[in-house]
């Protein structure tokens, strides 16, 4: 609530007060009403509007006096800023039974204007005198300002993100902040007797930092005035005019932090030197911290990151060449992380996830660093964090990260509408065990962070049935011209057995897989179809994938026609599954260009029947399939093309604040 100002009226002496333009002042007459009075009236100078608040039963008398009903309230507002101190007057006259004036209470009011303003309408401009500034609403007609977490590093001379700096190192950093203006107007002598205090609540103070732009003679200075450990700040020498502040966010929405931060200015009356003062007016603005947003495969790729591994049988030199050719077709930049930087860790998909933050005035990419922390541990912090490239991470408490913490286990769907509910930025997919199962699961701190961003409401799918346990081992999304603009691809043992049976019926039972792969066991279609153990393993796998299929249909609003089954076989090691041959859904999606792990399937008429089938399924959607040999460089090490690459994509054109989460 915006606290009303209360002024005690008295018939024994005049009262004096200061009020703020347009705000209500409650004249407390109940305790000063003289004995014998039965009615009253109120007169005031022209700038003052008098409001008599009464029950519907109470009516003014013929002479426009009011009965002294105990529930009647006198409230005044002033619509013009005072030119001089005490230039507004209010007079309350009390009358007795015989309509005689018994006594009079006088009030002298000085009206000042105080307003804290931010970009409420989200157009990059600070409007004066916005309404409902303390309210933040979602949607196309929503209002409320936006803050960015200042998680990039604009100055080369600092360590870590800009939000860790208590001072501003470079003017460029101001562009990551939101502007806030304090406008004051009134007779200057009044500000000597009243304090103007900028303040933030205890719970918000560690989420935000406010800098006061002070124009000194030589160059502008930016003084930190609110932030961690700085809950309030008295503004010295306030005079009529404008004070400029820059606000930076320090923390992303998370468990226990909705993302909303309020900043207030109060005008305090200080009746007593030691008194903390009582506020007579407070103006509050609210910001929402911009969420971290992921980009699905349907967003245009800008840059592909991949690691270079030079030595040994698992060298990826040939892989990099094939990848480079694909990227040329897709018109996409390739950034190679050297073996020194990666410390021989090739799984760049798993170590980080690219996303972005956006405010009306600014947007920049932000890399989310996984707590996985193998060889690539420091890569994001040391090599990606920089000017207008932010960084965020979450560290699990106490326990170590597990395989499900790798960001190959984190994906996001294209935009979907589910039974009328719109997800214009898609939905995050997290691989998990069955809901009640203990054991391997993505760290709670990471899941809490993802849920708290709100705009891409996560769905937890069941991936823990896999040895590695990542969602990208059995699903991916590809763009499509028709229907919802995409297809969900699911790995499918059933589709693979069906394909092999078809080929067997056509007389190709002796065709073998893995042709051309040195040292690998070549199995024929007949052999695979006769393997009862393999069939049972894949029955289980199919059941696990079907469980996800039905969940995804429900949570993403998909129909069967939005899903394509990609032939794939798995094998159980212990109780968990691994791909029997290169796992084709673990592909790199660059617009219409797909980089698919080369499956080395049975050759029928000199053609790999798996490649042939996948082309037949995907080419009609306008997709171009490039099969890349990742057999020794990734597949044999339990990953594929997708695990070995990472794509920075173009942010959504859709502004996140225009959705309703």
């Amino acid at each position: 609530m915006s606290q009303r100002q209360v002024v005690q009226m008295s018939t024994s002496h005049a009262s004096y007060g200061v009020c703020v333009l347009g705000s209500e002042v409650f004249l407390d007459t109940h305790r000063s009403t003289p004995k014998g009075a039965t009615s009253f009236d109120v007169h005031a100078t022209s700038a003052v509007t008098v409001h008599i608040i009464h029950s519907p039963m109470t009516k003014p008398m013929l002479n426009s006096r009011w009965p002294l009903d105990p529930d009647i309230e006198v409230v005044v507002t002033i619509g013009v800023t005072s030119k001089t101190v005490n230039d507004n007057k209010v007079k309350i006259s009390y009358y007795g039974w015989e309509e005689n004036e018994i006594s009079v209470a006088w009030l002298y009011l000085t009206c000042v204007d105080i307003s804290l303003d931010v970009d409420v309408s989200r157009n990059g401009r600070v409007r004066s005198k916005g309404k409902d500034k303390a309210k933040w609403t979602w949607g196309p007609d929503g209002q409320g300002a936006v803050l960015l977490v200042n998680c990039d590093k604009d100055s080369p001379n600092t360590v870590g993100t800009d939000s860790n700096q208590v001072d501003i190192q470079t003017p460029a950093d101001l562009k990551d902040m939101s502007l806030m203006l304090l406008r004051t107007q009134g007779p200057s002598s009044i500000f000597a007797d009243y304090k103007v205090v900028l303040h933030v609540s205890e719970s918000d103070a560690d989420k935000v930092r406010v800098f006061h732009a002070i124009r000194s003679d030589s160059h502008p200075q930016y003084k930190p005035v609110l932030g961690p450990g700085m809950l309030s700040c008295t503004l010295d020498c306030v005079r009529s005019g404008e004070n400029t502040f820059y606000v930076e966010g320090l923390a992303f929405p998370d468990a226990g932090f909705s993302g909303l931060v309020s900043i207030s200015v109060s005008l305090l009356e200080v009746p007593h030197k030691y008194s903390p003062g009582t506020p007579i007016f407070t103006d509050t603005v609210v910001f929402r911290m911009a969420p971290w947003i992921m980009t699905p495969n349907t967003q245009q790729p800008l840059e592909v990151f991949v690691c270079s591994i030079k030595k040994g049988i698992n060298s990826n030199e040939v892989f990099l060449e094939e990848l480079q050719a694909l990227l040329r077709k897709a018109n996409c930049k390739m950034t190679i992380c050297s073996e020194l930087e990666s410390r021989s860790d090739r799984w760049i998909q798993d170590e980080l996830e690219f996303g972005y933050v956006e405010a009306p005035h600014k947007s920049f990419p932000v890399v989310f660093d996984s707590p996985r922390n193998r060889g690539l541990k420091d890569f994001a912090f040391k090599k990606i964090l920089g000017p207008d490239f932010g960084y965020v991470t979450r560290v699990p408490h106490g326990c170590d990260a597990c395989s499900l913490d790798s960001f190959g286990n984190l994906d996001v769907s294209p935009p979907v509408t589910v039974r009328g509910k719109e997800y214009p930025l898609g939905r995050i997919l997290i691989g998990s065990p069955l809901p009640w199962a203990s054991g391997r699961r993505m760290s709670k701190v990471v899941r809490d962070f993802l849920y708290a961003q709100k705009v891409q409401a996560p769905v937890e799918v069941y991936s823990e049935w896999l040895s590695v346990g990542h969602v990208d081992e059995f699903l991916t999304f590809v763009p499509a011209y028709d229907r919802k603009g995409f297809r969900l691809l699911l790995a499918s043992p059933t589709a693979c057995f069906k394909l092999f049976q078809e080929k067997q019926r056509q007389g190709h039972g002796e065709a073998t897989q893995l042709v051309g792969i040195v040292g690998s066991e070549r199995r024929s279609i007949d052999d695979i179809l006769a393997d009862e153990g393999l069939r049972n393993d894949n029955k289980h796998v199919q059941r696990c994938i079907d469980w996800n299929r039905d969940l995804l249909k429900h949570e993403l609003g998909l129909s069967e026609q939005d899903i394509i089954d990609i032939p794939q076989l798995f094998i159980l090691r212990g109780s968990r599954a691994e791909a029997l041959f290169p796992d084709m859904v673990n592909m790199l999606v660059l617009g219409r260009h797909l980089g698919i792990p080369k499956p080395f399937g049975p050759l029928v008429a000199g053609q790999c029947c798996l490649e042939e089938r996948v082309r037949a399924l995907l080419q009609p959607l306008g997709l171009s399939c490039t099969f890349i040999n990742d057999f020794f460089s990734y597949h044999k090490l339990a990953g594929e093309v997708h695990c070995g690459t990472n794509v920075r994509r173009k942010p959504f054109a859709f502004k996140w604040w225009r959705m309703v989460p």
Copy 2:
């Protein structure tokens, strides 16, 4: 979402499955449709209902066959539990262009019944087959079961609360728990091939414990099956019949815990010895943890706690006699805490707060132990916790508690309606500094707990302007026959000055206060009214109280007529206020009987003019005022009657789940 069961159909061999009574089974025909088929139909035995889910454009053909539209879905439900395995049959026939049957897919289904049931309708009974069991709603038409935190101590042989015991020590303890029944029915051989698993999510597992009642030959046994570290439990030898479970709550709603806890049963298909199994049916029930509820002054008093202090000038022997007389009038039990138990700490109001918890089947009082922890630190745990008397506390992290953590700083209003919003259990009042001020504040863990209970939405008032800093130093509530059923009493310097001026005008300016108090400075009315410093101090105090007055009017929906000003003066010590004479609003409210600190005000015609005024204000409401001398025993030590007492009151007749918070 309740996951649908998926069954793969095949034209090459019959399929077999188990399904649950009334639940949907999705027949996946898309991957088994034979080449050349253009339409299909479905026939089934009598207990099976076939649902064809199709787009509005798709219509059955004249011969009641369906076109093979890719978005068409076949779903079956069965309404009768199977007598024998595979006694339901479904046949899908596929037809070609020439309407000839190309091939057929057969499915054999066994129908079992599985249902987890709790007291969904909140009448103390477990209904079979409740609908929407996984949903918990507030209000008079709401539904969903309730759990009690088992925070009492039913067995004398244990340490701490029953919720700390992993086993059940006494059958009486079962009455604090909520009943949950698992009902299963079907051909017994089927349960040998499928697992029935009871489970709870990781985040709920530390909030709840579930005991399975196992009827052995001699006496019933209660085996803990779910709880901290126990996320799931496979039920052995399930057969047709009923399994009984008892559920206890372990944690009150708090920051990060909404109070909702879900428990599920799943029927798992285990295709593989090492497989965790894939669930084909899950039934979920949800409980809400009963909140801790405070009782306002308008609730009937049952028992008054007070400490006995025998020695020295501050002995309270006479006070106890006067109190005893008041309690006799109020027909209320007195419980004296000995000097040994209290370790000479007389401020029993500050150490604890009595409240209660309630479920449809059980209710008991619960004492909330403040983190204040002076002499009375162990009293609640050692002397109050017991059979059907619960205990809860919160310990601040790292930092020590401050004066504002005392529960004299915690109060609750009577039931109120605020601009149409009902608070049938009132609203909690917490004393705080001004919102942005740092310094003394009630610990976050305590405030988080109070907010999380939801049913008495807290209001933070401004009490930090007082040296001690407690809400009970300037406000209280008394019952009244008329209007809202109560009045808010506020300490009022203005009312006191007005009274003294009135007496001065009547010629009693020389009347002195504190008559009869040995060693205290007696000041006359003239003297007090002439004291400019005292007047300025009280101007500040009045402004602080007025700030709260307006806040309380707004947050409790009060009008001026609901508020009574009790004459009182304060004096500033440094920048903070203390009562100048015994603080009358710091009273003990026992129904219509008030125990008010004797103010020792100026004697006018042999009568204390303060007592006379307070009687004149309160007696018309049907209240009886007893002024109790607490001058040396409490007032001189910076407290009064209310600070030195604590009342256990009758719970509300209103059930908390019938409100909408």
